[in-house]
Symmetry: C2
Subunit: 217 residues, 2 copies
DNA sequence: TAGATTGTTAATCGATTAACAATC
DNA sequence: TAGATTGTTAATCGATTAACAATC
């Protein structure tokens, strides 16, 4: 039960947590009540030892001779990830990708709520996506003051990304989810998560051209 | 010049290559001719030592006392990644995300060509996206026989992803780029690159809720 | 030539795996 | 209780960093 979380957990561990939780969710749907680290190993591809090691960074969630309670562990990991609260999000750049995320985020992820969307394109300003009206990017700063968000999502072109990032930093968002195919500089304390699709595709090309099927990213 | 590439290069190294190349491209645009591992370190955030180590997995591209030729190194890394050829791609699932990728891929990435798109939704079948007509998913297998592709891109819901993956395996694609928020099983030899947006967002939530700005994914 | 910077080996650090005692 | 499986320590493995000789 008790979170240890004394020191810094390595990012490798943290990035495995969502997968654990995803698989536990599927088990819950199937009505599975308990699972051992060995069975989880088969489902995740990680070793049983690593799974036990990972989980014990945060606390002893299992029980000797029994394993882990699926629902309980799912909840624990959710808490660790900070999914026991709501995150308000603003999408900047409302092209296909921005729209995809607007729909996607609300569809798959309760807890993540898109509360505003911004663009510079007059054809997009004013239209409604998933119930959210696209606002003029020039009004973003004042909008964010009135309606603060936790996460800014950058779905613009490479060229605009840094300007957006700067304005999001001023707008007191806590984290930036960056889909623009470039690296951006962010202010002290800002959490940054990049989704570099072009890098991902290039990596795929590497493995294809080298005939090297080392699955799983 | 000469590729070593004797043994298997670690995936950690491979995943850094696209970033090197991306930054070299920007330097080319700026007209920069040469760069040292130290300067590259400042631009990438990796240590100079690591950069030299990484590159020397593939060959000695630098010159003592000089550094690296920007254009030359950019080309070399492109070759290593397998970007000296064309990749034909099929998109399965033509919602916002599929459409975003259809536009994105061709816009940013020469060398990656979307040649066909498939969906089950009658409202989407027949429409044209970026010049490609959306075809009925039920015809995918015969279409792929007539017009083979290298990469299949899964932009469907969780529930359909495995069926799509199976059909892509039969369709002789070489790699799968999976955007569905689930893990899929692929046949022997298939290259799989997952883009788990929900995992990425969960990771972002972790760092926000722990007030831990360990930037860069 | 002297200075700069690579290529490469050796040292360090961290992450993964193995093993097993604790315990349900 | 006996069996199963965790929690945790120790051993191994691999990746990163440091150092420096080679060389442009």
């Amino acid at each position: 039960m008790g979170m240890k979380a004394n020191g810094k957990i390595s990012t490798a561990v943290i990035r495995r947590l969502p997968k654990y939780r995803r698989i536990l969710q599927e088990l819950m749907v199937k009505g599975v009540e308990r699972i051992s680290s060995n069975e989880l190993s088969a489902l995740t591809g990680f070793t049983a030892s690593q799974i036990r090691q990972d989980l014990n960074n945060f606390g002893g969630f299992g029980q000797q001779g029994y394993g882990y309670n699926v629902e309980g562990l799912h909840g624990q990991i959710g808490n660790i990830l900070g999914l026991d609260r709501e995150y308000r999000m603003a999408i900047v750049g409302c092209g296909n990708l921005g729209q995809a995320i607007a729909n996607y985020a609300t569809y798959y992820k309760t807890g993540f709520v898109v509360t505003s969307m911004f663009d510079v394109n007059p054809k997009l300003i004013g239209i409604s996506i998933n119930g959210i009206e696209v606002q003029d990017y020039s009004e973003m700063q004042s909008c964010l003051e009135k309606n603060p968000v936790d996460i800014g999502i950058i779905c613009t072109t490479k060229g605009s990304a840094q300007d957006v990032a700067d304005k999001l930093c001023n707008g007191n968002v806590k984290g930036i989810w960056n889909f623009a195919p470039t690296d951006i500089n962010v202010c002290e304390g800002m959490v940054l998560e990049n989704v570099h699709l072009s890098d991902s595709l290039n990596t795929l090309a590497y493995f294809i051209s080298h005939n090297d099927p080392r699955n799983e990213a």
